[in-house]
């Protein structure tokens, strides 16, 4: 089956159809900005309330893993951007391989994240009854930071898992010849989603891992 998904009747032309998809996706992303924004806001409030306690936690963050994951996500954003480009010019093989590469990098990110969570579990840095913090005077406030750490990176990881599912769908669709240079809107839209999730990490990395590192 060669894809010739015709223009939906309620649009004037393909340009208008693509424009409305792009706009709709950005409206969804605006709600995502607010969704993550709420957590960034609570992080900012608690950090300004307990600056020393928050700074002390950065010694227990695995900066190497965080930096590596930042690199992995940036690589996956590049492969995603190139996948959209391959779809634009109708290169099916390149599209599928670039999507598989993006998917693999996404899984590498989740694997590294999982190792970090395991480290936190072993070190008793997971908030809850077994929480233990090395600098006793900060224990209570450090627990808040670790709660925010798990909430923010956890919700981000859930977005990554959703993204992995979306990429698998795209790979299946692409291998069934559902896309052409004339119509590849899902690749374009999921690309936007993937880049957005990358941007969230770009902000999470310095806030959770780097700030207060020298103290």
């Amino acid at each position: 089956m060669i894809a010739q998904p015709e223009l939906k009747h309620h649009f004037d032309d393909a340009g208008q159809q693509l424009e409305s998809s792009t706009l709709g996706m950005w409206i969804f992303l605006a709600t995502e900005i607010m969704f993550f924004g709420g957590m960034f806001c609570s992080y900012t409030i608690y950090r300004s309330a307990f600056p020393e306690a928050f700074a002390s936690t950065s010694h227990f963050m695995n900066v190497t893993a965080g930096a590596l994951n930042t690199g992995v996500l940036i690589c996956s954003s590049l492969t995603m951007a190139l996948a959209v480009r391959a779809a634009q010019i109708g290169q099916k093989k390149a599209l599928i391989w670039l999507l598989i590469l993006t998917l693999t990098l996404g899984c590498v990110f989740l694997g590294i994240k999982g190792m970090e969570y395991h480290e936190k579990w072993v070190e008793h840095h997971v908030p809850g009854p077994s929480f233990h913090y090395e600098e006793a005077q900060y224990a209570q406030n450090a627990e808040i930071l670790f709660f925010l750490y798990f909430a923010m990176t956890g919700v981000h990881a859930v977005h990554m898992i959703v993204g992995v599912g979306l990429l698998i769908t795209l790979i299946i669709m692409a291998s069934r010849n559902r896309f052409s240079a004339a119509w590849y809107t899902p690749v374009d839209m999921i690309g936007l989603y993937w880049h957005f999730v990358d941007i969230v990490w770009i902000f999470l990395f310095p806030l959770l891992y780097l700030i207060g590192h020298t103290k």
């Binding site: 706009l23 409030i45 190139l82 690309g191 770009i202 990395f205 590192h213």
Partner: protein, 102 residues
């Protein structure tokens, strides 16, 4: 109808810039700069985020309407941060009036 095709070298250039900025932000975090550590880290994050939005997310080629909605998304985030923080920062600035002690 669709977006113009962007040259691969543009994407690779943006990618190299993002990697360079990541290395920079990690390197700067190891130097004691006081308050400036936070400012530098956030400035680099904003530059990285803007590069992704502008080039990878094709906002550069997007219509004015889409650009407006993108800007609105970040502007609303700004409103939320400024209003919430101005509440927290200004608590206790004003003396409690007589009506408080009834």
């Amino acid at each position: 109808m669709s977006h113009p095709v962007v040259a691969i070298k543009v994407y690779v250039g943006v990618f190299l810039a993002l990697i360079t900025l990541t290395v920079t932000t990690v390197a700067v975090s190891k130097i004691e700069l006081g308050e400036y550590n936070f400012i530098v880290a956030m400035t680099i994050a904003v530059i990285k985020g803007s590069l992704v939005v502008w080039f990878f997310m094709h906002v550069k080629q997007a219509s004015s309407m889409t650009k407006l909605f993108v800007a609105a998304g970040f502007f609303w985030l700004g409103i939320m941060l400024v209003f919430v923080l101005s509440d927290y920062v200004s608590r206790g600035w004003l003396p409690r009036g007589v009506w408080w002690h009834s």
